[in-house]
Amino acid sequence: MEIFNPLAPYNLPIIIWQTVWMGMVLGFVIVFALVAVWLERKISAYAQDRYGPMETGGWGFHGWAQTLADALKLLLKEDIIPALADKRLFKLAPYIVFAGSLGVLAVIPFGANLIGTDLNIGVYYAVALSSTVVIGILMAGWASNNKWALYGAMRSAAQIVSYEIPISLSLMLPVMMAGSLSFIDIIEAQRVGFPGEGYFWNWYLFRVPPFTFIAFIIYFWASLAETNRTPFDIPESESELVAGYHTEYTGIRFAMFFLAEYANMFIVAAIATTVFLGGPLAPAPWLNFIPGPIWMVLKAMVIVFVQIQLRWTLPRVRVDQLMHICWKVFLPLALLNFIAIATVAMLWPK
Protein backbone atom coordinates (compact mmCIF):
# COMPACT_ATOMS: atom_id res chain seq x y z
CA MET A 1 0.00 0.00 0.00
CA GLU A 2 1.25 3.41 -0.92
CA ILE A 3 1.90 5.80 1.91
CA PHE A 4 0.05 9.07 1.52
CA ASN A 5 2.56 11.85 1.06
CA PRO A 6 0.95 15.20 1.82
CA LEU A 7 3.85 17.10 0.24
CA ALA A 8 3.67 15.44 -3.15
CA PRO A 9 2.31 17.83 -5.80
CA TYR A 10 -0.08 15.27 -7.26
CA ASN A 11 -1.76 15.08 -3.85
CA LEU A 12 -2.51 18.81 -3.80
CA PRO A 13 -6.10 18.47 -5.12
CA ILE A 14 -6.85 15.95 -2.38
CA ILE A 15 -5.48 18.28 0.27
CA ILE A 16 -7.48 21.20 -1.10
CA TRP A 17 -10.65 19.10 -1.35
CA GLN A 18 -10.28 17.86 2.20
CA THR A 19 -9.70 21.36 3.52
CA VAL A 20 -12.74 22.69 1.71
CA TRP A 21 -14.80 19.72 2.82
CA MET A 22 -13.86 20.15 6.46
CA GLY A 23 -14.74 23.83 6.21
CA MET A 24 -18.13 22.84 4.88
CA VAL A 25 -18.53 20.25 7.62
CA LEU A 26 -17.60 22.84 10.23
CA GLY A 27 -20.23 25.17 8.84
CA PHE A 28 -22.74 22.36 8.84
CA VAL A 29 -21.95 21.49 12.45
CA ILE A 30 -22.37 25.09 13.55
CA VAL A 31 -25.72 25.34 11.80
CA PHE A 32 -26.70 21.97 13.20
CA ALA A 33 -25.79 23.11 16.72
CA LEU A 34 -27.93 26.22 16.33
CA VAL A 35 -30.85 24.16 15.07
CA ALA A 36 -30.36 21.45 17.69
CA VAL A 37 -30.28 23.90 20.59
CA TRP A 38 -33.47 25.47 19.28
CA LEU A 39 -34.97 22.00 18.85
CA GLU A 40 -33.92 21.04 22.34
CA ARG A 41 -35.64 24.05 23.84
CA LYS A 42 -38.72 23.52 21.73
CA ILE A 43 -39.01 19.82 22.49
CA SER A 44 -38.44 20.35 26.18
CA ALA A 45 -41.12 23.02 26.15
CA TYR A 46 -43.58 20.93 24.21
CA ALA A 47 -43.05 17.94 26.47
CA GLN A 48 -44.00 20.21 29.35
CA ASP A 49 -46.98 21.87 27.63
CA ARG A 50 -45.09 25.11 27.12
CA TYR A 51 -44.13 26.98 23.95
CA GLY A 52 -40.44 27.62 24.41
CA PRO A 53 -38.83 30.60 22.68
CA MET A 54 -41.43 32.40 20.59
CA GLU A 55 -40.36 36.01 20.14
CA THR A 56 -36.86 36.20 18.69
CA GLY A 57 -37.00 36.43 14.94
CA GLY A 58 -40.52 37.73 14.89
CA TRP A 59 -43.83 36.75 16.39
CA GLY A 60 -45.29 33.71 14.70
CA PHE A 61 -41.98 32.17 13.69
CA HIS A 62 -41.50 30.24 16.92
CA GLY A 63 -38.34 32.03 17.97
CA TRP A 64 -36.20 30.60 15.20
CA ALA A 65 -33.47 33.18 15.81
CA GLN A 66 -33.21 32.53 19.53
CA THR A 67 -30.03 30.45 19.37
CA LEU A 68 -28.55 32.87 16.88
CA ALA A 69 -29.04 35.66 19.41
CA ASP A 70 -27.66 33.45 22.19
CA ALA A 71 -24.58 32.61 20.15
CA LEU A 72 -23.99 36.30 19.41
CA LYS A 73 -24.36 37.06 23.09
CA LEU A 74 -21.84 34.36 23.98
CA LEU A 75 -19.35 35.74 21.46
CA LEU A 76 -19.65 39.23 22.93
CA LYS A 77 -19.29 38.17 26.54
CA GLU A 78 -16.19 38.71 28.59
CA ASP A 79 -13.76 35.83 28.62
CA ILE A 80 -13.17 35.30 32.33
CA ILE A 81 -10.29 33.14 33.48
CA PRO A 82 -10.21 32.39 37.23
CA ALA A 83 -7.23 33.85 39.04
CA LEU A 84 -6.08 30.51 40.40
CA ALA A 85 -6.74 28.51 37.23
CA ASP A 86 -3.98 26.85 35.31
CA LYS A 87 -4.27 29.38 32.55
CA ARG A 88 -2.55 27.55 29.74
CA LEU A 89 -4.54 24.34 30.19
CA PHE A 90 -7.71 26.30 30.85
CA LYS A 91 -7.39 28.06 27.53
CA LEU A 92 -6.42 24.93 25.65
CA ALA A 93 -9.12 22.56 26.90
CA PRO A 94 -12.12 23.72 24.84
CA TYR A 95 -10.15 23.48 21.63
CA ILE A 96 -9.05 19.94 22.39
CA VAL A 97 -12.63 18.93 23.10
CA PHE A 98 -13.87 20.56 19.93
CA ALA A 99 -11.01 19.24 17.82
CA GLY A 100 -11.81 15.72 19.00
CA SER A 101 -15.39 16.16 17.88
CA LEU A 102 -14.57 17.80 14.58
CA GLY A 103 -11.90 15.24 13.76
CA VAL A 104 -14.43 12.44 13.84
CA LEU A 105 -16.51 14.25 11.25
CA ALA A 106 -13.70 13.73 8.73
CA VAL A 107 -14.73 10.11 8.34
CA ILE A 108 -18.50 10.56 8.56
CA PRO A 109 -19.93 9.91 5.10
CA PHE A 110 -22.68 12.28 3.99
CA GLY A 111 -23.16 10.47 0.73
CA ALA A 112 -21.91 7.42 -1.09
CA ASN A 113 -18.83 9.39 -2.14
CA LEU A 114 -19.22 12.50 -0.02
CA ILE A 115 -16.70 11.99 2.74
CA GLY A 116 -13.70 13.86 4.06
CA THR A 117 -11.42 10.89 3.83
CA ASP A 118 -12.44 7.28 3.41
CA LEU A 119 -10.07 5.74 5.95
CA ASN A 120 -9.95 1.98 5.77
CA ILE A 121 -9.99 2.03 9.58
CA GLY A 122 -12.78 4.60 9.78
CA VAL A 123 -14.72 3.02 12.64
CA TYR A 124 -11.58 2.53 14.68
CA TYR A 125 -10.53 6.12 14.02
CA ALA A 126 -13.91 7.46 15.08
CA VAL A 127 -13.97 5.48 18.31
CA ALA A 128 -10.37 6.33 19.11
CA LEU A 129 -10.66 10.03 18.38
CA SER A 130 -13.86 10.47 20.33
CA SER A 131 -12.05 9.00 23.34
CA THR A 132 -9.51 11.81 23.23
CA VAL A 133 -12.30 14.19 24.17
CA VAL A 134 -11.83 12.83 27.69
CA ILE A 135 -8.44 14.46 27.84
CA GLY A 136 -9.88 17.85 27.06
CA ILE A 137 -12.65 17.37 29.61
CA LEU A 138 -10.23 16.31 32.34
CA MET A 139 -8.01 19.23 31.41
CA ALA A 140 -10.90 21.66 31.70
CA GLY A 141 -11.99 20.26 35.05
CA TRP A 142 -8.55 20.18 36.52
CA ALA A 143 -7.38 23.54 35.25
CA SER A 144 -10.48 25.34 36.46
CA ASN A 145 -9.35 24.90 40.09
CA ASN A 146 -12.95 24.41 41.05
CA LYS A 147 -14.36 21.47 42.94
CA TRP A 148 -17.51 21.22 40.84
CA ALA A 149 -15.54 21.27 37.65
CA LEU A 150 -13.19 18.60 38.98
CA TYR A 151 -16.04 16.35 40.09
CA GLY A 152 -17.68 16.76 36.72
CA ALA A 153 -14.51 16.00 34.85
CA MET A 154 -13.81 12.90 36.93
CA ARG A 155 -17.32 11.61 36.49
CA SER A 156 -17.20 12.34 32.80
CA ALA A 157 -13.93 10.52 32.38
CA ALA A 158 -15.16 7.47 34.28
CA GLN A 159 -18.35 7.45 32.28
CA ILE A 160 -16.85 7.91 28.85
CA VAL A 161 -14.08 5.38 29.42
CA SER A 162 -16.60 2.81 30.66
CA TYR A 163 -19.08 3.30 27.88
CA GLU A 164 -16.45 3.10 25.17
CA ILE A 165 -16.52 -0.67 25.61
CA PRO A 166 -20.18 -1.38 24.82
CA ILE A 167 -19.99 1.19 22.04
CA SER A 168 -16.99 -0.48 20.45
CA LEU A 169 -18.46 -3.95 20.84
CA SER A 170 -21.72 -2.85 19.27
CA LEU A 171 -19.94 -1.19 16.38
CA MET A 172 -18.05 -4.40 15.80
CA LEU A 173 -21.22 -6.14 14.62
CA PRO A 174 -21.64 -4.26 11.34
CA VAL A 175 -17.88 -4.34 10.93
CA MET A 176 -17.86 -8.12 11.16
CA MET A 177 -20.76 -8.46 8.79
CA ALA A 178 -19.33 -6.03 6.26
CA GLY A 179 -15.80 -7.32 6.71
CA SER A 180 -14.40 -3.81 6.72
CA LEU A 181 -13.74 -0.93 9.08
CA SER A 182 -14.37 1.64 6.38
CA PHE A 183 -17.65 3.51 6.64
CA ILE A 184 -18.10 3.52 2.87
CA ASP A 185 -17.70 -0.25 2.71
CA ILE A 186 -20.21 -0.68 5.54
CA ILE A 187 -22.72 1.48 3.67
CA GLU A 188 -22.19 -0.42 0.42
CA ALA A 189 -22.65 -3.70 2.27
CA GLN A 190 -26.06 -2.50 3.42
CA ARG A 191 -27.19 -1.88 -0.15
CA VAL A 192 -27.37 -5.51 -1.16
CA GLY A 193 -28.95 -8.30 0.74
CA PHE A 194 -31.43 -11.09 0.70
CA PRO A 195 -34.56 -10.17 -1.27
CA GLY A 196 -33.74 -7.10 -3.25
CA GLU A 197 -31.19 -4.37 -3.67
CA GLY A 198 -31.67 -1.00 -2.01
CA TYR A 199 -34.46 -1.84 0.41
CA PHE A 200 -34.45 -0.86 4.04
CA TRP A 201 -34.53 -4.42 5.30
CA ASN A 202 -30.96 -4.76 4.10
CA TRP A 203 -29.82 -2.26 6.69
CA TYR A 204 -27.86 -3.78 9.51
CA LEU A 205 -30.55 -2.81 11.98
CA PHE A 206 -32.85 -5.45 10.45
CA ARG A 207 -30.27 -7.84 9.05
CA VAL A 208 -29.97 -10.43 11.83
CA PRO A 209 -33.14 -9.63 13.71
CA PRO A 210 -32.64 -9.75 17.46
CA PHE A 211 -28.91 -9.20 17.66
CA THR A 212 -28.32 -6.19 15.47
CA PHE A 213 -31.37 -4.49 16.90
CA ILE A 214 -30.06 -5.00 20.43
CA ALA A 215 -26.69 -3.75 19.29
CA PHE A 216 -28.32 -0.62 17.92
CA ILE A 217 -30.15 -0.04 21.20
CA ILE A 218 -26.96 -0.55 23.17
CA TYR A 219 -25.08 1.80 20.88
CA PHE A 220 -27.77 4.43 21.19
CA TRP A 221 -27.89 4.30 24.98
CA ALA A 222 -24.13 4.15 25.39
CA SER A 223 -23.80 7.10 23.03
CA LEU A 224 -26.02 9.08 25.37
CA ALA A 225 -23.44 8.45 28.08
CA GLU A 226 -20.68 9.30 25.62
CA THR A 227 -22.23 12.66 24.89
CA ASN A 228 -23.04 13.36 28.56
CA ARG A 229 -26.74 13.57 27.95
CA THR A 230 -29.64 12.66 30.20
CA PRO A 231 -30.20 10.08 31.65
CA PHE A 232 -26.41 9.87 31.88
CA ASP A 233 -25.69 13.55 32.39
CA ILE A 234 -24.15 13.17 35.81
CA PRO A 235 -20.94 14.97 34.71
CA GLU A 236 -22.88 18.19 34.27
CA SER A 237 -25.83 17.60 36.53
CA GLU A 238 -27.08 21.07 37.29
CA SER A 239 -28.57 20.19 40.65
CA GLU A 240 -25.39 18.69 42.06
CA LEU A 241 -22.50 20.26 40.17
CA VAL A 242 -23.12 23.70 38.85
CA ALA A 243 -22.41 22.85 35.25
CA GLY A 244 -19.76 20.17 35.53
CA TYR A 245 -16.41 20.59 33.86
CA HIS A 246 -17.32 23.86 32.14
CA THR A 247 -18.52 25.63 35.28
CA GLU A 248 -15.82 28.28 35.08
CA TYR A 249 -16.00 28.91 31.37
CA THR A 250 -17.61 31.94 29.84
CA GLY A 251 -18.01 33.52 26.47
CA ILE A 252 -16.42 31.97 23.43
CA ARG A 253 -14.77 29.14 25.35
CA PHE A 254 -18.06 28.06 26.82
CA ALA A 255 -19.51 28.29 23.33
CA MET A 256 -16.81 25.89 22.15
CA PHE A 257 -17.85 23.34 24.77
CA PHE A 258 -21.46 23.82 23.87
CA LEU A 259 -20.71 23.44 20.18
CA ALA A 260 -18.68 20.31 20.86
CA GLU A 261 -21.53 18.86 22.87
CA TYR A 262 -24.02 19.32 20.08
CA ALA A 263 -21.51 18.27 17.44
CA ASN A 264 -21.08 15.07 19.46
CA MET A 265 -24.80 14.55 19.39
CA PHE A 266 -24.73 14.71 15.63
CA ILE A 267 -21.64 12.51 15.41
CA VAL A 268 -23.07 9.66 17.45
CA ALA A 269 -26.33 9.94 15.53
CA ALA A 270 -24.44 9.95 12.24
CA ILE A 271 -22.37 6.90 13.20
CA ALA A 272 -25.50 5.06 14.30
CA THR A 273 -27.12 6.03 11.01
CA THR A 274 -24.16 4.93 8.98
CA VAL A 275 -23.54 1.55 10.54
CA PHE A 276 -27.10 0.52 11.41
CA LEU A 277 -29.50 2.55 9.28
CA GLY A 278 -27.85 2.48 5.91
CA GLY A 279 -26.40 5.98 6.10
CA PRO A 280 -27.20 7.87 2.89
CA LEU A 281 -29.15 4.98 1.36
CA ALA A 282 -32.80 5.48 0.60
CA PRO A 283 -35.20 3.05 2.26
CA ALA A 284 -36.49 1.86 -1.09
CA PRO A 285 -35.12 2.05 -4.65
CA TRP A 286 -37.95 4.24 -5.91
CA LEU A 287 -36.90 6.87 -3.33
CA ASN A 288 -33.45 7.14 -4.87
CA PHE A 289 -34.30 10.47 -6.49
CA ILE A 290 -33.80 12.12 -3.11
CA PRO A 291 -30.05 12.60 -2.75
CA GLY A 292 -28.07 10.68 -0.16
CA PRO A 293 -26.98 13.58 2.05
CA ILE A 294 -30.63 14.42 2.70
CA TRP A 295 -31.36 10.86 3.80
CA MET A 296 -28.27 10.89 5.96
CA VAL A 297 -29.17 14.13 7.74
CA LEU A 298 -32.81 13.11 7.98
CA LYS A 299 -32.04 9.81 9.68
CA ALA A 300 -29.52 11.47 11.96
CA MET A 301 -32.04 14.13 12.89
CA VAL A 302 -34.58 11.47 13.82
CA ILE A 303 -32.05 9.95 16.19
CA VAL A 304 -31.19 13.39 17.57
CA PHE A 305 -34.89 13.97 18.10
CA VAL A 306 -35.17 10.76 20.11
CA GLN A 307 -32.07 11.75 22.10
CA ILE A 308 -33.66 15.06 22.98
CA GLN A 309 -37.04 13.57 23.76
CA LEU A 310 -35.41 10.99 25.99
CA ARG A 311 -33.68 13.77 27.87
CA TRP A 312 -37.03 15.23 28.83
CA THR A 313 -38.53 11.86 29.66
CA LEU A 314 -36.09 10.19 32.00
CA PRO A 315 -34.58 11.36 35.27
CA ARG A 316 -30.84 11.25 35.87
CA VAL A 317 -29.36 7.97 37.06
CA ARG A 318 -27.02 7.71 40.01
CA VAL A 319 -23.34 7.02 39.52
CA ASP A 320 -23.66 3.45 40.79
CA GLN A 321 -26.65 2.87 38.53
CA LEU A 322 -24.66 4.25 35.65
CA MET A 323 -21.87 1.78 36.25
CA HIS A 324 -24.38 -1.01 36.84
CA ILE A 325 -26.01 -0.35 33.48
CA CYS A 326 -22.67 -0.29 31.74
CA TRP A 327 -20.89 -3.26 33.26
CA LYS A 328 -23.76 -5.55 34.22
CA VAL A 329 -26.27 -4.91 31.44
CA PHE A 330 -24.70 -3.48 28.32
CA LEU A 331 -21.40 -5.32 28.45
CA PRO A 332 -22.85 -8.85 28.77
CA LEU A 333 -25.47 -8.11 26.16
CA ALA A 334 -22.90 -6.64 23.81
CA LEU A 335 -20.61 -9.64 24.29
CA LEU A 336 -23.50 -12.02 23.61
CA ASN A 337 -24.33 -10.10 20.47
CA PHE A 338 -20.71 -10.15 19.47
CA ILE A 339 -20.48 -13.93 19.80
CA ALA A 340 -23.75 -14.46 17.97
CA ILE A 341 -22.86 -12.20 15.06
CA ALA A 342 -19.34 -13.63 14.91
CA THR A 343 -20.94 -17.04 14.48
CA VAL A 344 -23.30 -15.74 11.83
CA ALA A 345 -20.54 -13.96 9.98
CA MET A 346 -18.40 -17.09 10.10
CA LEU A 347 -21.16 -19.45 8.91
CA TRP A 348 -22.51 -17.19 6.17
CA PRO A 349 -19.70 -14.96 4.99
CA LYS A 350 -20.83 -12.03 2.93
Binding site: A47, D49, Y51, W59
Partner: protein, 229 residues
Protein backbone atom coordinates in the same frame (compact mmCIF):
# COMPACT_ATOMS: atom_id res chain seq x y z
CA UNK B 1 -55.07 2.74 41.60
CA UNK B 2 -56.54 4.84 38.86
CA UNK B 3 -55.81 3.91 35.30
CA UNK B 4 -52.78 5.86 34.05
CA UNK B 5 -53.27 7.73 30.82
CA UNK B 6 -51.18 9.77 28.45
CA UNK B 7 -51.93 13.42 27.88
CA UNK B 8 -54.15 12.42 24.97
CA UNK B 9 -56.17 10.05 27.12
CA UNK B 10 -54.70 6.84 25.78
CA UNK B 11 -54.59 4.36 28.65
CA UNK B 12 -51.24 2.98 29.65
CA UNK B 13 -51.72 -0.71 30.06
CA UNK B 14 -48.19 -1.69 31.02
CA UNK B 15 -47.84 -2.88 34.60
CA UNK B 16 -44.48 -3.46 36.20
CA UNK B 17 -44.34 -6.91 37.75
CA UNK B 18 -43.03 -6.85 41.28
CA UNK B 19 -42.49 -10.57 41.41
CA UNK B 20 -39.00 -11.59 42.46
CA UNK B 21 -37.27 -14.21 40.38
CA UNK B 22 -33.98 -16.00 40.74
CA UNK B 23 -30.67 -14.86 39.34
CA UNK B 24 -30.56 -14.58 35.61
CA UNK B 25 -34.34 -14.57 35.19
CA UNK B 26 -34.57 -11.51 37.41
CA UNK B 27 -31.82 -9.82 35.43
CA UNK B 28 -33.65 -10.45 32.17
CA UNK B 29 -36.92 -9.18 33.65
CA UNK B 30 -35.25 -6.04 34.93
CA UNK B 31 -33.51 -5.27 31.66
CA UNK B 32 -36.70 -5.88 29.71
CA UNK B 33 -38.76 -3.72 32.02
CA UNK B 34 -36.14 -1.00 31.96
CA UNK B 35 -36.39 -0.93 28.19
CA UNK B 36 -40.18 -1.16 27.96
CA UNK B 37 -40.92 1.37 30.67
CA UNK B 38 -38.62 3.82 28.93
CA UNK B 39 -40.77 3.44 25.84
CA UNK B 40 -43.87 3.99 27.97
CA UNK B 41 -42.34 7.19 29.34
CA UNK B 42 -41.49 8.37 25.85
CA UNK B 43 -45.04 7.65 24.79
CA UNK B 44 -46.23 9.95 27.57
CA UNK B 45 -43.87 12.78 26.67
CA UNK B 46 -44.70 12.35 23.00
CA UNK B 47 -48.40 12.62 23.72
CA UNK B 48 -47.75 15.98 25.35
CA UNK B 49 -46.60 17.40 22.01
CA UNK B 50 -50.17 17.35 20.80
CA UNK B 51 -52.16 18.76 23.68
CA UNK B 52 -53.05 22.37 24.32
CA UNK B 53 -50.26 24.63 25.49
CA UNK B 54 -50.72 26.08 28.94
CA UNK B 55 -48.70 29.20 28.29
CA UNK B 56 -50.46 32.45 27.47
CA UNK B 57 -48.42 34.51 25.03
CA UNK B 58 -49.02 37.64 27.03
CA UNK B 59 -48.41 40.66 24.84
CA UNK B 60 -50.21 38.99 21.94
CA UNK B 61 -52.99 37.39 23.88
CA UNK B 62 -54.24 37.57 27.41
CA UNK B 63 -56.48 36.02 29.98
CA UNK B 64 -59.81 37.87 30.10
CA UNK B 65 -60.14 39.68 33.41
CA UNK B 66 -63.28 40.53 35.34
CA UNK B 67 -65.34 43.31 33.80
CA UNK B 68 -65.29 45.35 37.01
CA UNK B 69 -61.75 44.63 38.09
CA UNK B 70 -59.94 47.71 39.24
CA UNK B 71 -56.60 48.37 37.56
CA UNK B 72 -55.24 51.75 36.52
CA UNK B 73 -57.11 54.96 37.32
CA UNK B 74 -58.73 56.95 34.58
CA UNK B 75 -60.28 60.40 34.46
CA UNK B 76 -63.38 61.23 32.46
CA UNK B 77 -62.49 64.88 32.15
CA UNK B 78 -65.96 65.82 30.84
CA UNK B 79 -67.45 64.85 34.19
CA UNK B 80 -64.84 66.51 36.32
CA UNK B 81 -65.92 69.55 38.24
CA UNK B 82 -62.47 70.48 39.45
CA UNK B 83 -63.21 70.10 43.16
CA UNK B 84 -59.65 68.90 43.89
CA UNK B 85 -60.79 66.23 46.34
CA UNK B 86 -58.74 63.61 44.57
CA UNK B 87 -55.75 65.88 44.62
CA UNK B 88 -56.09 66.36 48.36
CA UNK B 89 -56.60 62.72 49.28
CA UNK B 90 -53.96 61.16 47.10
CA UNK B 91 -51.39 59.68 49.51
CA UNK B 92 -48.54 59.94 47.04
CA UNK B 93 -49.55 63.27 45.54
CA UNK B 94 -49.50 62.25 41.93
CA UNK B 95 -52.66 64.04 40.82
CA UNK B 96 -51.92 67.52 39.58
CA UNK B 97 -54.82 69.78 38.65
CA UNK B 98 -55.03 73.26 37.24
CA UNK B 99 -58.65 74.38 37.39
CA UNK B 100 -59.20 77.97 36.29
CA UNK B 101 -62.27 80.07 36.93
CA UNK B 102 -63.75 81.39 33.71
CA UNK B 103 -63.86 85.13 33.18
CA UNK B 104 -67.11 86.89 33.89
CA UNK B 105 -69.82 86.29 31.36
CA UNK B 106 -68.41 83.06 30.00
CA UNK B 107 -70.59 80.04 30.53
CA UNK B 108 -68.90 76.70 30.18
CA UNK B 109 -72.16 74.84 29.76
CA UNK B 110 -73.18 71.72 31.56
CA UNK B 111 -71.48 68.43 32.18
CA UNK B 112 -72.92 65.12 30.91
CA UNK B 113 -74.43 64.49 34.32
CA UNK B 114 -76.47 67.68 34.04
CA UNK B 115 -74.50 69.75 36.50
CA UNK B 116 -73.01 73.13 35.65
CA UNK B 117 -69.42 73.14 34.50
CA UNK B 118 -67.80 75.56 36.89
CA UNK B 119 -64.15 75.66 35.86
CA UNK B 120 -61.74 75.33 32.99
CA UNK B 121 -59.97 72.01 33.51
CA UNK B 122 -56.81 73.47 32.08
CA UNK B 123 -54.54 70.72 33.33
CA UNK B 124 -55.15 67.32 34.90
CA UNK B 125 -52.06 65.15 35.06
CA UNK B 126 -51.58 61.84 36.80
CA UNK B 127 -48.17 60.23 37.21
CA UNK B 128 -49.20 56.60 36.83
CA UNK B 129 -45.73 55.32 37.59
CA UNK B 130 -46.20 56.37 41.22
CA UNK B 131 -49.81 55.25 41.69
CA UNK B 132 -50.30 52.76 44.50
CA UNK B 133 -53.85 51.71 43.57
CA UNK B 134 -55.41 52.63 46.89
CA UNK B 135 -58.50 53.89 45.10
CA UNK B 136 -59.05 56.76 47.50
CA UNK B 137 -59.42 59.26 44.68
CA UNK B 138 -62.27 57.24 43.24
CA UNK B 139 -64.10 57.18 46.57
CA UNK B 140 -63.99 60.93 47.15
CA UNK B 141 -64.97 62.00 43.66
CA UNK B 142 -68.35 63.68 43.71
CA UNK B 143 -69.06 63.14 40.05
CA UNK B 144 -67.55 59.69 39.45
CA UNK B 145 -65.19 61.39 37.08
CA UNK B 146 -62.15 59.49 38.32
CA UNK B 147 -62.44 55.74 38.46
CA UNK B 148 -60.48 52.56 37.93
CA UNK B 149 -60.62 50.80 34.56
CA UNK B 150 -59.75 47.24 33.58
CA UNK B 151 -56.68 48.19 31.58
CA UNK B 152 -53.51 46.91 33.22
CA UNK B 153 -51.03 47.23 30.33
CA UNK B 154 -48.37 49.52 31.66
CA UNK B 155 -45.29 48.29 29.84
CA UNK B 156 -43.48 51.11 28.15
CA UNK B 157 -40.03 51.95 26.95
CA UNK B 158 -40.27 55.49 28.25
CA UNK B 159 -41.30 56.27 31.78
CA UNK B 160 -42.55 59.71 30.74
CA UNK B 161 -45.39 58.09 28.85
CA UNK B 162 -46.88 57.13 32.20
CA UNK B 163 -47.25 60.82 32.99
CA UNK B 164 -50.66 61.38 31.43
CA UNK B 165 -52.52 64.65 30.99
CA UNK B 166 -56.26 64.03 30.86
CA UNK B 167 -57.17 67.62 30.08
CA UNK B 168 -58.56 68.38 26.66
CA UNK B 169 -56.93 71.81 26.62
CA UNK B 170 -53.95 72.32 24.41
CA UNK B 171 -51.04 74.18 25.99
CA UNK B 172 -52.02 77.34 24.07
CA UNK B 173 -55.61 77.17 25.29
CA UNK B 174 -54.41 76.56 28.79
CA UNK B 175 -52.09 79.54 28.73
CA UNK B 176 -54.85 81.71 27.30
CA UNK B 177 -57.33 80.66 29.97
CA UNK B 178 -54.83 81.25 32.71
CA UNK B 179 -53.83 84.63 31.31
CA UNK B 180 -57.45 85.74 30.94
CA UNK B 181 -58.20 84.80 34.51
CA UNK B 182 -55.13 86.65 35.72
CA UNK B 183 -55.99 89.73 33.69
CA UNK B 184 -59.54 89.82 34.99
CA UNK B 185 -58.30 89.41 38.52
CA UNK B 186 -55.72 92.14 38.13
CA UNK B 187 -58.36 94.44 36.70
CA UNK B 188 -60.68 93.64 39.58
CA UNK B 189 -57.92 94.17 42.09
CA UNK B 190 -56.98 97.52 40.59
CA UNK B 191 -60.46 98.94 40.14
CA UNK B 192 -62.64 98.70 43.26
CA UNK B 193 -60.23 98.89 46.12
CA UNK B 194 -56.53 98.53 46.65
CA UNK B 195 -56.10 94.87 47.14
CA UNK B 196 -54.33 94.08 50.36
CA UNK B 197 -51.31 92.02 49.51
CA UNK B 198 -52.74 91.14 46.17
CA UNK B 199 -52.83 87.38 45.79
CA UNK B 200 -50.15 86.17 43.57
CA UNK B 201 -51.08 86.60 39.93
CA UNK B 202 -52.07 83.33 38.38
CA UNK B 203 -49.64 83.61 35.56
CA UNK B 204 -48.26 80.13 35.61
CA UNK B 205 -46.90 78.67 32.49
CA UNK B 206 -46.04 75.42 34.21
CA UNK B 207 -48.77 73.10 35.34
CA UNK B 208 -47.72 74.02 38.85
CA UNK B 209 -51.27 74.56 39.80
CA UNK B 210 -51.90 76.28 43.02
CA UNK B 211 -52.35 80.06 42.63
CA UNK B 212 -55.61 80.19 40.70
CA UNK B 213 -56.96 77.41 42.79
CA UNK B 214 -57.31 79.67 45.77
CA UNK B 215 -59.88 81.74 44.03
CA UNK B 216 -62.65 79.39 43.06
CA UNK B 217 -62.64 77.56 46.31
CA UNK B 218 -62.13 80.36 48.74
CA UNK B 219 -65.79 80.30 49.54
CA UNK B 220 -66.19 76.59 49.82
CA UNK B 221 -62.95 75.22 51.08
CA UNK B 222 -60.90 76.37 53.99
CA UNK B 223 -57.90 77.11 51.89
CA UNK B 224 -55.18 75.68 49.81
CA UNK B 225 -53.35 73.35 52.09
CA UNK B 226 -52.32 70.77 49.57
CA UNK B 227 -48.69 70.29 48.89
CA UNK B 228 -48.72 68.31 45.70
CA UNK B 229 -45.84 66.62 44.03
Amino acid sequence: MAQMRTALGVPISYKVSHKQHNGLIQWIVEVWEGFITTLVGMKITFSHFFVKRHTVQYPHEGIPIAARSRQRIFVDIDLCGGCLQCNRICPVGIIDILAVKPVAGVDLGTRPNGKRRPLHMANFTIDHSKCLYCGLCTTVCNDDAIYMITDYHYTTTNKDSLFVNYSKYTPEERDKVVADAAAEKAAKAAAPKPAPAAPKPAVVAEPKPEPPKEEPFSEKCPGPDEGDQ
